[in-house]
Amino acid sequence: MTWTIFDKPDCTDCEKGNAWLKNHGIPVHKVNVFAVSKEQISLWAELSENGAVDLIDQEQKSNTVYQTKIHNQALSDHDIVAILAEHPELIRTPVITNHEQIIIGYQSDKMKSTFRFVKIRTL
C-alpha cells in the first residue's frame, strides 16, 4: 500500500517527518492536511491506538476553537472527527498512513520500526 504524509506549512514536525522519509529513501505521497475529508479522519481514528483523541494537536490549546469545543469536553470519537473535519488546523501533523497503519506526529522510533522491509522498486 502506498504511504501518504498529510502535512501543513510552518509545521516543524512536518518538516522533520518529510525529511526523515526522504532521507531514509521511503517513497511517499504528500497531501496538505487541509484537503483531508471527514471520511479519512474517521479512518485515521480507527487506526490510531487511542482513537480520535490521538489526532488532536495538544499544542493548539490556545486556539479559540480548541478552547470552546475540545478543552474539558466529554467528546466521543464521532464528535472529535466532526470537529477536526471542520477545523483541520487542530489535527496533529504530520499524519503518515498507508490506510492500514498510522503514525501521528513526528515519532522517530515508530517510523524506524514501521518502515522495515520496504520495497522501493520492482525487479
Binding site: 518538516e15 522533520k16 526523515w20 532521507n23 529513501g25 522517530s108
Partner: protein, 392 residues
Amino acid sequence: MLAESREGDKDMSNLDAFREAGNPMFNDNKLKLGTFASNCSGALSMTLAETVFEPTFEKNVEIAKMAEAAGFECMIPLGRWRGWGGPSNFNGTSMEVYTWAAALASVTEKICLFATSHVGTVHPLLAAKQAVTIDHVSKGRFGLNIVTGNFREEMEMFGPKMMDHDRRYDYAGEWIDVVQKFWTEQYFDHAGEFFTINDGFMMPKPYQNPRPVLISAGTSPRGREFATKYCDINFGPSESMEKLTNWTKEIKGFAWENYRREIGTFTACMVVCRDTEKEAKEYYDYYVHKKGDWEAAGNAIKTMMGESKSFSMEFLQKFQERFVAGVGYPLIGTPEQITEKLIELSATGVDGTLINMVDYNVELPHWNEKVMPLLEQAGLRKPVQRNAPQSV
C-alpha cells in the same frame, strides 16, 4: 619501511620518498589543507539547513576543481554505508570511497585523493588492487585512509558481529601487512590469523614508489600504535589548542622512539566564514540550534561513546553540539579571525587541517577568495597560481 629500501642511508626519513616525489601531503606549506566527507550527505554537519550541496559526482567535481585551484593538498572521503538516523539521516546518502577517488582522479591534476577504507569490508587484495589502479589513474596522487569501523549497525550490515576495539586493530594490522606485500612483493605466500594468501601476485605495482600515502585517525592506545607503526599521517583531536599541542608532540615522539618513523599530524576544523562576525554567529545559530539534527547527533554519541554514565550532561551536551555543528575545531567568524585561529593551530605543531563547511559549493569560493590570501600573508602557505578559476 622506506628507510630499509635505501640501505646505508640511515638518515633518510620514511617520508623523504614522498617529499622527493613532490607529493603535496609533504610539501613546504606550513599548514596543509584538505576537504572532508564531501562524498556523504550533510558532509560533517548534522542539520536540516538549506544547502545546495549533495554527495553527487557533479557537486564533487565542482568542489575538487575549486579546492585544487586554491592549492588544497587533499580531499578525504568519509567511509559510510548507512546514515545516523534522525530526520536528516545524516550521511545516509553516500558515494563509495574507492570509486569516488577514481572518478575525481580522472578530472583533477594536482590534488591528492584518498579512500577511507573500512578494513573489515574489503579483502586486502581487492583494496591493494583498487588503490594501485587509482594511483596510476591519478599519476601518484592516491592515499589510503585506514579505518576499523565503530558504527555497529553499519558494520554488521556485512554480516558478522563487529569485533571489539582491540581485535579490530589486530585485524587491521594484518590487513595492511598483506596490502603492502601486494604492493611491494611478488609471488608470496602469507599465512596469518585472518588471511591466507597463496602465491600472491599483483601488476602493476603502485605508481608511487614504494607505495601510496597511508593515514589513519585512531587516537586510542591501539590506534596510536597502529598509526605510528604503519602510517605516514595521523588525524587527531580538535578539542582545544592545548590538546592538539600535547597530542602532536606525543605521537611524533612515540613514532620515533618506538619505530624510528616520522609521522605527520592533521586535525579537523568546522568553518563558518562570513564577512562579519555577526553573520557568522547568526548562521551558526541557525544551522545548529534552529535546524540542527540533534536526534542524529544523539544516535552518533550513543553509538560511539556507549551509554556511559561517566559523562556529565554538560559534557555530553557540549560534545553533541560539536557533532551537530560539524566535529572539528570551530572557526566561526571573519576571514581575519579565522586566519588568527589557524596561525594558533599551526603553532601547535600540526602539519595540516581538514576543513568542513555546511555548503562547500557555496562557501568554498568565499574561503578561497578571502582566507587563502591571508594564510599566504601569514606565511602558512605559499602562493598558488592565480590564473586558475576560483569557482566553477
